[in-house]
């Protein structure tokens, strides 16, 4: 009797340990997570003449990453995320063109704050709604910002934009070059910092609560979660990150026009994220990269019909990769590890 008791106690302890280990170790960095960064660094050496394009990819990765926070984790569906990208883009654009504030890094902070404030205010109003209502309201936000810019085209430059912006050398030392080498490393460094923040948030208790809101909002209310504040908080953070992406966009292109607020831009970033896989951080990397590379390739192949190629890839992804491209890799990984076991 005593012996069997010991065994069951031991068994229970081991089950408990296993369960605890699972949660305790989940947020640790895994070796595979170095891969996207190694690839990004390798690109710098292998394609030295394509780095302007490379920086644009990094900007879109960051934009998609910000959307992943709200769409993938909190389950907020929005069609107006370009609003925050645009606010960030215009913050550094206007600062440089109208105020001669051309220091790039402080520009990023200004863009984050401006976009964050817009995110906080609109989020506080909009996030009481869900579904189609929210979809329309987010869409309207982006359009209203765009039209405000159009109304005061004397300041914003309207749809002709603010061309020929120049920025101070980075850290006062590294000047911008024709091939975008500096831009690329700059964008990569900013992305790494932003990614670290986003990753911490996702694995924090707050991030878990966001997942809970996505999974079952009624239950979250019932266990005492201040759902509205959680959503406003993450919306503000995502807006700030999108604002940084927009600011980088302006800085790397040296111009900005009102098209950054386009519905196209909101839709594109959502397509990228879904293509890569939502709610898994690296979906933004895979989705934005694949989309941008395909867009680049198809548009050279056929300057008039390139969107057909993108459309085809999307249809295939929706049919055969419901959890995005990363979902395919995950399924493959699970298949291999199960083969190994048996």
């Amino acid at each position: 009797m005593a012996a069997s008791d010991t065994i069951t106690t031991a068994q229970r302890t081991s089950t408990r340990e296993r369960a605890a280990d699972y949660l305790l170790g989940r947020h640790r960095f895994r070796a595979a997570e170095a891969l996207p960064w190694l690839i990004a660094i390798a690109v710098y050496f292998i394609f030295p003449d394509r780095l302007t394009f490379g920086s644009q990819v990094l900007v879109m990765v960051m934009f998609a990453l910000s959307l992943d926070l709200i769409l993938g984790y909190a389950g907020i569906v929005t069609l107006g995320h370009a609003a925050f990208f645009g606010v960030g883009a215009y913050t550094v654009g206007l600062a440089a063109a109208r105020l001669q504030w051309t220091e790039p890094i402080s520009g990023l902070f200004a863009a984050a704050i401006a976009a964050g404030i817009v995110g906080f205010i609109t989020g506080w109003f909009l996030l009481r709604y869900r579904g189609l209502t929210l979809l329309m309201l987010t869409l309207a936000t982006a359009i209203m910002l765009q039209e405000t810019g159009n109304l005061r085209s004397d300041i914003s430059g309207g749809y002709d934009g603010l061309p020929g912006l120049t920025f101070k050398p980075l850290l006062g030392v590294f000047d911008y070059d024709l091939y975008g080498h500096t831009y690329y490393l700059y964008a990569l460094a900013v992305l790494a910092v932003v990614f670290y923040f986003v990753r911490r948030i996702v694995y924090s208790p707050f991030g878990q609560a966001l997942t809970g809101i996505r999974e079952n909002v009624r239950r979250m209310h019932a266990i005492g979660s201040p759902v509205h504040w959680r959503l406003v908080t993450v919306y503000t953070i995502a807006a700030a990150v999108a604002g940084v992406a927009g600011a980088l966009f302006t800085q790397t292109n040296a111009y900005v026009t009102l098209t950054v607020f386009d519905f196209d831009n909101s839709a594109k970033v959502m397509v990228m994220l879904i293509l890569g896989g939502t709610g898994r951080l690296y979906g933004a990397f895979v989705g934005a990269t694949v989309y941008m590379v395909l867009e680049d390739y198809f548009s050279k192949l056929s300057p008039t019909f390139w969107q057909f190629g993108i459309g085809l890839v999307l249809v295939l992804a929706v049919l055969f990769a419901r959890r995005g491209l990363l979902g395919i890799f995950e399924s493959m990984g699970r298949y291999i590890s199960e083969r190994k076991k048996s």
Partner: protein, 255 residues
């Protein structure tokens, strides 16, 4: 002594249809109260009014003597008012353990933290595992909720409510949808609840009601028809007429 939960003159209607009519109810600390009534009597509506999922048109709800009528559902939950749902409301895509850790995290305010890793609080994980242990769910800790059989999901529903460390617990048909071969597992848990918690249970199975409850409130057409001990209710001719006589209702759980 102030009641753990007190409901005073609660009214609510949907359009022209009154669903809760002047309901008064008091649960002492450690109460074991059953709420019974025919289908459509407004039992779940009453629970929704008490927890704040619905707003009453008039009347008050008091928790330990404090008026909570104006508080949100979440604020009431944080003050110790927990419920289970008639139909499971769980985080289906997460593991059982995560369901519990989430509850504890929100209860203790950890979820306001954006920086520290969720898995780094060993205390939370241990407490979650303790709750699972007490309901014999430890072996399912790492399974996704949606992979569990419905009966075990019902236990998770109760485990979450208990992890909130409530003073008042509202159980909305805890054994609904569970095959009768497994329902005793759930009813055992209900019978073994902490004697300090005031419990209100909505239940259709009269055997369970008479075994579990020390007091019974009968709700008919949104109003309290009568209250009393199980014996009084069982021998009340009018109750028999409106409710107990209608055997056909016993199988017909509202979905």
């Amino acid at each position: 002594m102030t009641a753990a939960l007190q409901v005073e003159g609660l009214n609510r209607s949907f359009g022209a249809l009154p669903v809760t009519r002047d309901v008064n109810l008091a649960l002492e600390r450690g109460a074991r109260r059953a709420l019974i009534g025919p289908n459509g009597a407004g039992k779940t509506t009453l629970v929704n009014l008490i927890t704040g999922a619905l707003r009453p048109h008039s009347g008050r709800v008091l928790l330990d003597g404090q008026d909570i009528t104006g508080l949100s559902q979440a604020d009431r939950a944080r003050r110790g008012l927990a419920r289970t749902f008639q139909i499971n409301q769980l985080f289906r895509g997460l593991t059982v353990l995560e369901n519990l850790c989430m509850t504890i995290g929100e209860r203790d305010g950890h979820c306001n933290n954006l920086w520290r890793s969720a898995g780094s609080r060993r205390v939370v994980i241990d407490e979650a595992l303790d709750h699972l242990d007490s309901l014999r769910l430890t072996d399912d800790a790492l399974k996704l909720v949606r992979e569990l059989p419905y009966g075990r999901q019902r236990l998770v529903e109760i485990a979450i409510a208990l992890a909130q460390k409530p003073r008042v617990l509202l159980l909305d048909e805890p054994a609904a949808g569970v095959p009768s071969s497994e329902s005793h597992l759930i009813l055992d848990v209900v019978a073994a609840l902490d004697p300090d918690i005031a419990v209100l249970i909505i239940e259709h199975d009269m055997d369970v009601v008479f075994r579990f409850a020390k007091e019974i409130t009968v709700l008919v057409q949104g109003a309290v028809f009568t209250q009393g001990t199980p014996n009084e209710i069982m021998n009340n001719e009018q109750v028999r007429a409106v409710y107990l006589g209608q055997e056909s209702h016993r199988g017909g759980h509202r979905g």
